[in-house]
Symmetry: C2
Subunit: 474 residues, 2 copies
Amino acid sequence: MSPEEFRRFGHEVVDWIAGYLARPEDYPVLAQVEPGQLRSQLPPNPPEGGEPMAEILEDFRQYVVPAVTHWNHPSFFAYFATSASAPGILGEMLSAAFDAKAMLWRTSPASTELEEVALDWLRQLMGLPEEFGGVIYDTASVGTMHAVAAAREALDLRVREDGMSGRADLPLLRLYASEQAHSSVEKALIALGLGQRSLVKVPADAEFRMDAAALARLIDEDRRAGHLPFCVVATVGTTSTTSIDPVPLVADVCERERLWLHVDAAYAGSAAVAPELRHVLDGCERADSLVTNPHKWLFTPFDLSALYSRRLDVLRRAFALTPEYLRTPEQDAVRNGSDYGVQLGRRFRALKLWMILRYFGHEGLAALIREHCRLARLFADWVEASPDWELLAPVPLSVVCFRARPEVEGDLDALNERLMNAVNATGELFLSHTKLHGVFTLRLAVGNIRTAEAHVRRAWELLNEKLSEISDEG
Amino acid sequence: MSPEEFRRFGHEVVDWIAGYLARPEDYPVLAQVEPGQLRSQLPPNPPEGGEPMAEILEDFRQYVVPAVTHWNHPSFFAYFATSASAPGILGEMLSAAFDAKAMLWRTSPASTELEEVALDWLRQLMGLPEEFGGVIYDTASVGTMHAVAAAREALDLRVREDGMSGRADLPLLRLYASEQAHSSVEKALIALGLGQRSLVKVPADAEFRMDAAALARLIDEDRRAGHLPFCVVATVGTTSTTSIDPVPLVADVCERERLWLHVDAAYAGSAAVAPELRHVLDGCERADSLVTNPHKWLFTPFDLSALYSRRLDVLRRAFALTPEYLRTPEQDAVRNGSDYGVQLGRRFRALKLWMILRYFGHEGLAALIREHCRLARLFADWVEASPDWELLAPVPLSVVCFRARPEVEGDLDALNERLMNAVNATGELFLSHTKLHGVFTLRLAVGNIRTAEAHVRRAWELLNEKLSEISDEG
């Protein structure tokens, strides 16, 4: 494609994006398509000859866009609501053009050094200590996997060299996380060959926070059974309810027992950017590692997850492996990104984060997070004030767990699931659910950069409308 | 940022990219900066207030761009030369704007289904059988890690459930790969807890291809020692020389021994798109899994790696884990991407690949690959015809391994390393090296979409100029 053509189609794409971001509400938030619909609309074979870009973009608009679920929609309240800010999109455009593979310092000095700068800025914004160095990965799942691998390496059991198969000398390694911890912890253990048996689920209290006394007891029991405790994962902002584990107490246990403390702050780490919420990270300054996702609540286009650790040397020892074809004259004087993980090539992700931190500034980011928390609180107040609804968990941040509980008799789980499917089918908003104490629970997650009070208010109206429709139908 | 502002800055960024892609040769290919230079030019603290986008873009041009190593430069001949095509960049722009997390079908039906369509098209272009289903990951390192995890799962040893620590019943698991295999194979074993000891390096022949007879012998020896062979990784297009392991012979061994055969075709899989090169994948139709990187030699912006497997069910069994908050009504009728790996969130990567396959078509892609092979052959011919230079490996595809070997006495390794550093310091081109049979070897890798005969010719001239300068200096 000639530069002139790229310019023309690039402008066309930018205009399309500008229009899209100006009115995401023109689209249903949850794609209103059947499984297989898009696939059936596209040819089963690739074209022999090239096709005009204009036609490709036309098909994109006609077939692809209707099958998109719009994370940019201000009434996307499912999972953790996340969204890409404009400066982040501009950063991704430039990164895509550079197409750097930042495996070594020399293959992209800009990526390597901007990663150090942007992650250090973010560390300061979150109030983490200076000893915490950072690494960018794609996702928190991958960051957590690497953190647990570092914890394993820190045992000095020659797992890197000798592995774990064919060894009668290795006790059962055990990792502790609350029953509310994210599934990525279990997946990390599966991938790392530690298996589901190595996960000890620590009970949570009535507010879904890890019970630190139970943690201590479980570790003690494991030691007496001859197992080897090696890591605790605490969560700051669990996926179901955004509950915050008592990290200071957990850190006490980890220090006493000499266990690696990893903190999953994928969602709530960003909250600490607001000074009045910095307390959510209390105790995290004592962690060995902590993962947080700017692509969750810091308006950074997916993917960009940051792993911080005071022991990056251990992580490096676990993964560095330099074949001859990757040796460089400067290798001892620089940081080579691929030394810190499974991935060799790494995208130039730091650029978008650097642009976002500058464009919004500390105050701008804090204001957005503050407003999201206010909106969640507002919604929670409506729930609390209504006889037909109830809160099912505290609301420390921007997610509300609730359900309909009308006066009439009936199966509340079935009612609430039906209600969720009914509001989602309107395309006006998108909610997801969880289960708390075995109860089907609706979640309203505020986090989208475009979400305003009107959207939260409309969600409340719509939920009440659908509830009354369902109640009328019996 | 208002839509109008996004439009304005978006156009500015597109214009900058268009200008950049029109003249990447205006920049030194290898960034001419010292370690720490960029970092020292940027403020150590993040801004309190937001900054104007115009200023951020100005700093981008002034500080960031000079620290970029330009993978788009047509004289980037290092590692595997790769480059982003214009339709791929347009696709990335749209993906960045959608900001989808395609963990479940419903969170991005378009991403899920376009992934199936684009990967099936690519499968057809490479001539792989219909039973091969595909999954997109970020990198081949991650794809290979997942393939080896699937091979481990296929053993039915309850590694997912019980892990490998604290078990006296597990023999030493062993994986076989040629001594020329990529370091990602060893990293995968380290991550998976199998360890370096589980890697058996199979000798290669004089042309750097796995010795299949040695493979059979090593497996036999391991069995007699009580170890458990479980996987063989064959490489189609090794990193050092692009040598191609004898996959039909390796597949014979794997079938006889009932081992999982994974093929690393990260680079050379794309060659099969050219009908006359399809033979590079001979035997791969018998593999259990195969990884290939459209982001290497298919003009796709990094990252997009495709893992194909006839046993995706085993991969799914190894990694699927659905917590309550990710259950959906349609889950049994659709494919949920996060079931196939460690990563939960997944970028909408398929869009750029779909656009590229359509824009170039089968013929366009084949023509580019064909031309790259022609240019490498041309350069190899010059090397062979010159008394001062020698080829150090066959040139089956688009990479030439060679070195200067002038008449004068001296340390050839030191001479060639000096030569490489001298040409790289000019900023006119970028070469990397490897070692073959212990000998320092220069590599000229053709793969950039803008590389033409003139660039290869200029590389040859510059190498000869620098050789004669160095020879004159003694």
